[in-house]
């Protein structure tokens, strides 16, 4: 009996704090204390006049507390950064897709941003109900699986990596070829490069997309699917990010050491802030706790078929 009590005490006072430090977002963990949403955020973007600013989330639609806490941080940063829109790397709604699910997994977590008219532009993940979501107005997909939109000097190419058929590839080539945007950014769910262990890179997708991206001067690519954050080394001169942990998270899922990541983060949920001003792209990645886990600036590449 005494031995049991000692073990319990050991578990409670020694093991539990260690577990909470290692896994700060353990499901049901109440001790995680995200930075107060009322305090001033630590903004590391230059916030230049006339710049294009947006946030990036991926694999977010769980409807659980971590998603809400990331959304709270987004709202906190929005007050300072005033980003106009959010790009979504897919898996926007996990599980059921009833009206209640859309409310719990999207409308409620991001209510404050939606109320401020921040637009969301979704791409489709393997957990999404493509036909409902592409027609769900707040996702701004206009009924399409893949589409493009432009903000100032930046053109976004939103792809459906679940079904990269010849029709989509032809459409993409045509849109990239005729784009006169200074910055070309593509985003879609399945990563072409990653060091995460769960799924790994989609090499078949890479074989189809990389020739188009390099020929027509795509500058940066975002993906999700792996429930981690990765800032990758440029591949064929293109900048790559993976944000697949804005709701989901796979702890310690990044292979280490690896030759691919500049920064890999797999111990908390994150979202990204991005700002483009002239030839510079600035980014800041913020964890659910409010901590900045990555930030920096990247210069627009001058290679590529369409680059001036």
């Amino acid at each position: 009996m005494i031995r049991v009590n000692t073990s319990m005490r050991f578990a409670k006072f020694l093991l539990l704090p260690i577990l909470v430090v290692v896994y700060p977002g353990l499901h049901g963990d109440q001790s995680s204390t995200p930075a107060s949403v009322a305090s001033a955020p630590d903004v590391r973007l230059p916030l230049k006049k006339g710049s294009v600013r947006w946030a990036v989330i991926g694999d977010n639609g769980t409807g659980q507390r971590p998603e809400q806490e990331v959304a709270d941080q987004m709202e906190r940063y929005w007050r300072a950064v005033k980003f106009d829109f959010v790009t979504m790397d897919g898996d926007n709604i996990y599980g059921g897709h009833s009206p209640r699910d859309f409310k719990q997994k999207f409308e409620l977590p991001y209510k404050q941003l939606l109320d401020e008219n921040v637009k969301f532009y979704a791409s489709l993940g393997n957990h999404d109900d493509a036909d409902l979501e592409r027609n769900y107005k707040p996702y701004n997909m206009d009924g399409k699986r893949f589409y493009t939109f432009r903000k100032g000097d930046v053109q976004f190419f939103v792809l459906d990596s679940n079904y990269m058929d010849p029709a989509q590839l032809t459409w993409l080539e045509d849109k990239l070829k005729t784009s006169d945007a200074k910055w070309k950014i593509a985003y879609f769910h399945h990563p072409m490069f990653t060091s995460a262990k769960s799924h790994g890179p989609d090499v078949d997708l890479r074989q189809q997309l990389m020739p188009l991206f390099t020929e027509y001067g795509v500058n940066a690519v975002w993906s999700g699917h792996e429930h981690v954050y990765e800032h990758l080394k440029p591949q064929s001169g293109i900048y790559f990010f993976l944000v697949g942990n804005s709701g989901q998270l796979r702890y310690h899922n990044i292979r280490r050491p690896n030759d691919l990541d500049v920064v890999g983060f797999d111990t908390d949920q994150t979202f990204m802030l991005v700002e483009i001003a002239g030839d510079e792209l600035y980014f800041q990645t913020i964890a659910r706790s409010g901590e900045t886990v990555d930030s920096g600036g990247l210069t627009r590449q001058t290679s590529g078929h369409n680059a001036p």
Partner: protein
């Protein structure tokens, strides 16, 4: 006579334009044409194209509304169910093999096996492992595609989509295990499926 010469030139030009137009019309065999097809296989794929076209014209003739963007998810689901029911009623006797008749099935199996055994086979296999596959036992012709409760869908490897015959807008291929299915995207419905399509 200059007039008859002009007339002859006009005829030649018309024939040339007509030939070019025919050559540019995308057909269901377009993708598969990249692979070497025998005359019999070509015939089978033309028959497949006809069957697919007939399904789509039948579906378009239905009065049920197609989904249009709205914030009302309930309305989207209602419209989708209505379209599915209308299609089900228009083809109550639909069964497995209506599109994938035995000769057509054999061409599909041959194309897929050959592609997987080819230089891109390893990449396709890796891509197939990339997402969580759906259980093929849940596929039923005229039934709802079994992803209602958020079951993840298997992404279809792009290289495979390049060798399969093109489908018109509104239809897509889906892979569940080793089964290849054709899904009506607006109705989220299984139109037909081919067991053991993948080796």
């Amino acid at each position: 006579m200059p007039l008859s010469r002009y007339f002859r030139q006009f005829c030649h030009l018309s024939v040339l334009i007509a030939l070019l137009a025919v050559a540019w019309v995308p057909s269901a065999t377009e993708n598969a044409a990249a692979q070497t097809l025998s005359a019999a296989e070509n015939k089978s794929l033309n028959e497949f194209a006809k069957r697919v076209k007939s399904y789509i014209s039948q579906e378009h003739a239905l009065s049920a509304d197609k989904l249009k963007p709205t914030s009302d998810v309930e309305q989207l689901e209602r419209e989708r169910v209505a379209l599915r029911q209308a299609i089900q009623q228009s083809r109550p006797n639909a069964k497995q093999g209506d599109l994938f008749t035995p000769p057509i099935a054999s061409v599909f199996r041959r194309l897929m096996t050959q592609t997987l055994a080819g230089p891109n086979g390893a990449k396709i296999e890796a891509s197939l492992q990339h997402a969580e596959p759906l259980a093929p036992k849940d596929l039923v012709v005229n039934g709802e595609y079994p992803n209602r409760n958020g079951q993840p869908i298997q992404s279809v490897p792009p290289t495979l989509l390049q060798v399969l015959p093109s489908l018109p807008k509104g239809l897509e291929y889906r892979i569940a295990g080793k089964t290849l299915a054709i899904r009506d995207t607006d109705a989220n419905m299984v139109i037909d499926f081919l067991p053991n399509a993948l080796p």
